[in-house]
């Protein structure tokens, strides 16, 4: 445990120094994406792997948080002020949609969450939160005041949220919430009869996931400097997070780390073949699910158990 902590801090410090020691900018970009996707994939894993909630609406949290932060910059506030309010809006929205979708179980929950980003996209296409030079073009907005910000700042923010999400997962899984969720996953009616409030535990993890995904979303848009509804509420967020979690291993702590590394590496490899990139990602998703539904980490664990017996 001590060694693990020292290693963790060492990795953190080295990664934090990267922009200072002049690492190539492309590396920083891929690392930035890695941390953003890692924190979101961790949250998707918390829902799908530990809470039995296949949530198809991470884009709703990303988009809402991103828009909140962007609108706040239009009101004259510096960009970093909007990060936490963005996440709070995402978490409040999670509470709001939990009223209809938490009545639903399993696959119905998935359908309910699938509709949500589509609704938001239409809303943000119709609604003009603030007037601006770019409205009319798909209701896109630039994030004010980030043009002159150095690229290292969003990188550090992303590093912080990526690392935090990892620690948070460790903490949650060893807390009362984590053991409650594990009990629900194994048998929800037994868990309920032991006095575990199934509803409130699931709601709790849903709101935590929305909050952290929201933070990561705002940081992404600080880097991008521009937001518009079609990409903010795009299904691509879900594809990336699902792919990262499934490749690495749903319901394992290390799964999203391994999975996100592979997904970001895939982006790097397929960057020149944009038109077939998503087709290949789809094929990998289907293939992994059929061959190794526990993902890479789950597969290695099974193999280890097999050899140690």
């Amino acid at each position: 445990m001590q060694g693990g902590l020292i290693l963790f801090i060492a990795v953190f410090v080295v990664l934090a120094l990267f922009p200072v020691i002049g690492v190539p900018r492309v590396w920083l970009l891929y690392l930035f994406l890695f941390f953003i996707y890692l924190s979101m994939a961790n949250m998707w894993n918390l829902l799908a792997g530990y809470s039995g909630l296949i949530s198809l609406c991470p884009a709703a949290f990303v988009g809402l948080a991103g828009y909140t932060m962007t609108i706040m910059t239009w009101l004259g506030l510096p960009y970093y002020v909007g990060i936490i309010p963005g996440a709070i809006v995402a978490a409040l929205f999670a509470m709001l949609i939990s009223i209809p979708v938490f009545r639903l179980k399993g696959i119905y929950f998935a359908i309910g969450t699938l509709v949500v980003p589509e609704i938001l996209r239409v809303v943000f296409l119709l609604w003009k939160p603030v007037g601006g030079p770019l409205d009319g073009l798909g209701r896109g907005y630039t994030v004010h005041g980030v043009a002159e910000v150095s690229r290292s700042q969003p990188y550090w923010l992303a590093l912080a949220i990526g690392m935090t999400s990892f620690l948070l997962m460790r903490y949650i899984l060893r807390s009362k919430l984590g053991s409650g969720l594990a009990a629900i996953r194994d048998n929800d009616s037994t868990a309920a009869s032991c006095g575990i409030n199934v509803f409130s535990l699931k709601l709790c993890s849903f709101i935590i996931a929305a909050f952290v995904t929201g933070i990561a979303g705002t940081i992404f848009y600080i880097y991008q400097g521009f937001i518009e509804p079609a990409s903010a509420f795009s299904i691509r967020w879900l594809i990336t997070l699902m792919l990262a979690t499934v490749i690495g291993g749903e319901g394992t702590e290390e799964g999203p780390i391994v999975g996100t590394m592979i997904v970001v590496f895939l982006y790097f490899l397929l960057a020149r073949y944009a038109e077939i990139s998503l087709i290949i990602q789809g094929i990998i998703l289907v293939g992994i699910m059929l061959v190794a539904p526990q993902g890479i980490v789950g597969y290695i664990r099974k193999f280890q158990r097999h050899t140690s017996n």
């Binding site: 009545r103 359908i111 309910g112 949500v116 119709l126 749903e250 789809g282 998703l285 289907v286 539904p293």
Partner: protein, 280 residues
């Protein structure tokens, strides 16, 4: 005017939802790739029309067997196997198929909207003071024919009865000597043959793009849930309800908001009556 349009449009939605309803009712899986498979039907009609000069409706003679075959293979080699892993696995694999289809359409046919513009698709009919496009009436008639056909098929043929048996109780059906995996594969195949029909009539009615599958999937899900699991009459009524929601929504809140009305209705239906009007 929007009332007539809505009811007629409901016919199209019912046909789109029919395959989804069948798979949902029998195999108990939500095929999130259904919208994209319907759009595959639209693109097939488009390819037949532009490359071979065949009328899109006539091209169904080839389109239906093609999608039937694709459906059989998808269920047999992918979804039946996923089913044994977990419910989540079927959902994720169907999602993967959806991603593959959307991006394949984009690669072949570019992101620009296409439409099946035939001479009769542009005609309009007058019913007293109300004028409406001819295709809307055609959609409605086709919906009734297709639904009657499915009803008789499920009632009278051996395969139809096997499908109903597997839908009611998978284990008992299996014990009665029904090869449920095969029945599921045929069910999915039939659902996709209906998707081919839905795709062509969708293409005659609306322009479509590679990502059109999603809005139609959502509406079809709403139709299926509202109508109740695996109920043909329910699907028809659900279709009309959503057709009306869209045209009335467009009438009162403007065309831009019509999808918003339909989407919100899906959420409301899920929250208030998840078992549907005709649900068991």
């Amino acid at each position: 005017m929007p009332l007539v349009m809505g009811i007629l449009l409901g016919g199209l939605y019912a046909v789109i939802a029919l395959g989804l309803s069948l798979v949902f009712g029998v195999v108990k899986e939500i095929n999130v790739a259904h919208g994209d498979l319907v759009i595959l039907g639209s693109y097939f009609g488009y390819a037949a029309m532009t490359m071979l000069g065949i009328d899109p409706i006539l091209s169904l003679v080839m389109g239906m067997p093609l999608l039937f075959g694709i459906g059989f293979l998808i269920q047999k080699y992918l979804l039946n196997r996923a089913f044994r892993i977990s419910m989540d696995a079927t959902l994720i694999i169907a999602f993967g198929i959806s991603i593959i289809l959307q991006n394949t359409f984009q690669l072949i046919w570019t992101p620009f909207p296409r439409g099946l513009t035939t001479s009769y698709a542009l005609k309009s009919l007058a019913l007293g003071p109300v004028r409406f496009p001819f295709v809307y009436l055609l959609n409605f008639v086709v919906a009734i024919i297709v639904m009657l056909f499915l009803r008789e098929f499920l009632r009278r043929t051996y395969l139809g009865m096997a499908i109903r048996a597997a839908a009611q109780n998978r284990k008992s059906a299996h014990l009665m000597g029904i090869n449920t995996d095969r029945v599921y594969a045929f069910t999915f195949a039939i659902a996709l043959a209906f998707a081919a029909i839905a795709g062509v009539f969708l293409g005659l009615t609306f322009p479509f793009t590679p990502i059109s599958g999603m809005p139609f999937l959502i509406i079809a899900l709403g139709v299926v849930v509202l109508g109740g699991l695996g109920s043909i009459v329910g699907t028809f009524i659900g279709g009309i309800a959503f057709g009306l929601a869209q045209t009335l929504g467009g009438h009162f809140f403007g065309v831009a908001a019509q999808m918003l009305v339909a989407y919100t209705m899906v959420l409301v239906v899920l929250a208030v009556i998840p078992r549907g009007i005709f649900g068991r």
